[in-house]
C-alpha cells in the first residue's frame, strides 16, 4: 500500500551561525485512514518535523535536507502558492494552545469564512451550511452561537473543537495535530481525541499526531514514531512498540506510561 504522506531523511537546522541541528534524518509515513503518532520528550524535534510537512517552520529555522512526499509527489519544493492551496484543504492542522491560535479581534465565523474563502468560491448559504455541518460534526448543536462568538468567549476545550471543525470542513486527506490536547483536562482531551478519531474513520483520513503522552498514543495510534534528540529512534506498529520497545527512550516512555496506569489497574478500575 502506498503511503499518503512520506517523509524521508528530514534535516532541520537553526538559521543562525553556527547552525544547530534540530532534526537529523527523520523518516516516517502516514497511511490513509490511519493514525501515526510521533512521540517524544520536549525538545526531541517532533513538533518541528511535523510543522515542516506543510512548510510552516518558524522563522530562524530551516529545512536543509530530505524530502516530503504527499500522495506520492514531492511537496517540500512546491512554489509558495501551490503549498498554500494544499494547506487547509488537503493537509489541515490542529495546534496546541488554541487560545493563542485565534485572532482575538475576529469572530469564529470570520475565521471560518476566511478559511473557506481561501480555497473555494461558495455562496453565503453554501458556506453557512458547510460551517454548521462542520460544527455539528464536532458536537456543537448551537453552531450559530459558536460562530457569533469571539475566541476569548469560549473555553479552551471548545476552541480546540472549533479548530478541529475548521480543519475538517474542507475534507482534508491528512490531518496534522500538534499536541492538540496538552492544555486540556482529561475529559476535554478525550472528547477532542474521540472526535478526531471519528473523523478519521468517516473520511479515511490520515492523521499525524504529535504528543508526549504515551496514553494518547495508545488510544489513537496505528503506528508510532519515537523521536529523541532530533532523531527517529524507533518506528513500528503501536502494538509492537507497546509490547516490546527496543530503543532506550522508547522503553522509558512505555515504562513511564505503564507506571502511570498501574495504580488504577491495581485498584481494579477498568480503563
Amino acid at each position: 500500500m502506498k503511503a499518503l504522506l512520506e517523509v524521508r531523511g528530514l534535516e532541520i537546522e537553526t538559521a543562525a551561525r553556527p547552525a544547530r541541528e534540530l532534526v537529523r534524518g527523520a523518516s516516517f509515513s502516514v497511511f490513509a485512514g490511519e493514525t501515526t503518532c510521533v512521540v517524544g520528550a520536549s525538545g526531541s524535534g517532533k513538533s518541528l518535523s511535523c510543522l515542516s510537512v506543510p512548510g510552516l517552520l518558524p522563522p530562524g529555522v530551516r529545512k536543509t535536507g530530505g524530502e516530503v512526499r504527499f500522495r506520492g509527489e514531492r511537496i517540500d519544493n512546491l512554489p509558495k502558492e501551490a503549498l498554500r492551496r494544499l494547506r487547509g484543504t488537503a493537509i489541515s492542522m490542529v495546534m496546541q494552545n488554541p487560545m493563542s491560535c485565534f485572532d482575538p479581534v475576529f469572530t469564529i465565523k470570520s475565521h471560518f469564512l476566511e478559511t473557506i474563502a481561501a480555497h473555494e468560491r461558495l455562496s453565503r448559504r453554501e458556506a453557512d451550511e458547510k460551517m454548521m455541518s462542520a460544527l455539528a460534526e464536532v458536537g456543537f448543536d448551537d453552531g450559530a452561537k459558536i460562530l457569533a462568538a469571539y475566541p476569548f468567549q469560549l473555553s479552551g476545550g471548545m476552541l480546540q473543537r472549533v479548530m478541529l471543525a475548521m480543519a475538517l470542513s474542507l475534507d482534508p486527506a491528512l490531518l496534522i495535530a500538534d499536541e492538540p490536547t496538552s492544555d486540556l483536562d482529561t475529559v476535554a482531551q478525550a472528547r477532542v481525541l474521540d472526535l478526531m478519531d471519528a473523523a478519521r474513520r468517516g473520511r479515511n483520513m490520515g492523521v499525524l499526531l504529535v504528543t508526549h503522552d504515551f496514553g494518547v498514543a495508545a488510544k489513537m495510534a496505528s503506528s508510532i514514531v519515537v523521536m529523541d534528540g532530533g532523531q527517529v529512534v524507533e518506528t513500528g506498529e503501536a502494538g509492537a512498540i507497546f509490547a516490546a520497545p527496543v530503543h532506550e527512550s522508547a522503553k522509558a516512555l512505555v515504562a513511564a506510561h505503564e507506571k502511570l496506569c498501574a495504580p488504577l489497574a491495581a485498584e481494579g478500575v477498568e480503563v
Binding site: M95, S100, V105, Y150, F152
Partner: protein, 313 residues
Amino acid sequence: MGRYILRRILTLIPILFVVSVVVFLILRMAKGDPAMAYLRMSNIPPTEQALAEARIELGLDKPVAVQYADWFMKALRLDFGRSYVTGRPVLEEIMHYLPATLALAGAGLLLTMAVSVPFGVLAAMGKDRLPDHLMRAFSFVGVSMPNFWLGLLLVYLFSVKLGWLPPMGRGGAGHMLMPVVTLSFMSIAINVRFLRAGLLEHIRSRSVLFARARGVSEGRITWIHVMRNAMIPVVTSMGMHLGEMLGGAVIVENIFSWPGVGRFAVQAVFNRDYPTLQCFILMMTVIFVLCNLCVDILYAFIDPRIRLAGEQR
C-alpha cells in the same frame, strides 16, 4: 456598543467635575493676591480700600466652597469671567483664538497618521534591511529632536536661506507647512516605532501560524490580521498624541507667530491673568478628554475584548 458609549460618556461627568474643582482650588492656592493682580491690570492704585472693594467684586470674601459654586453656576452658563488684561469675557477671547490652534493640531494629527503608517509598515516589512535601519534612525532623531529647535531650523533653512516659505503668521498652505511638520515630527517618530514593534510582534504570533496552516493568503494575513492588531496600540496612542500636540501647539505658535490660543495663554501666564488661564486649561482638557473618548470608542470598535468586557462567557 451603544451601552459602552453611554457608559463612557457618563464616566466623563464626574471626571470633568473633579477637574474643574482641582483647577479652581489650585488657582486659589496661587501665590499672590488675585485682587492685587486685578488692580494692577486695571491700573488702579492698590490702596487698602481698593483692595477690599476688589475682593468683594471678585467674590474673594466668601468661603471657597461658595466661590466655587458661584463660579460653577456661571461656568454652566458659559460665563468664565473677564480677562484681567483685556477686560473682555474670557471665553470670547479663547474662542477667538481656538480655531487656529485646532486647525494646527488637527492637521498635525492627520499628518502623523498619513506618514507614520506607511513608514511603520515599510520598517517592519524590511526588518534588518535598509528601510528598517533608515526608519529606526529617523525615529530616534524624531524622539530626540526638540520641537522648538526643529522649528527654528526649518525657518532658517526654508525662510532665511532658501526663501521658499513664509517664516511666520497665518495664511495659505505655505504658512501651515512648517508649523505642522514641527508639531507632528515627534509623534510620527513615536508612531513609526510603535507600529513597527506591533507588526513584528504579530507576524511572529501563533495566530498567524494558524492562519497559514489554514491556507490563508499572505496578503490577507498581513493586511487583515497583522495590520488590524498592530493598529490597536496606534489608535489608542492617538489621544495621547493629541495631548502632545495641544501642548506642542503652544510652542509652535510662539515660533511661527501663529495666532492661536497657546500664544494667548503664554501671555496670560506672564500677566497672571487667572480667569484666562483657568478657562484655557479647562477648554484644553475638555478637548483632550473628548478626543480621548472618541479614541476609546474607536478602540472598542476595533477590539471586541474591550467592547465585551464584563460580558464574557
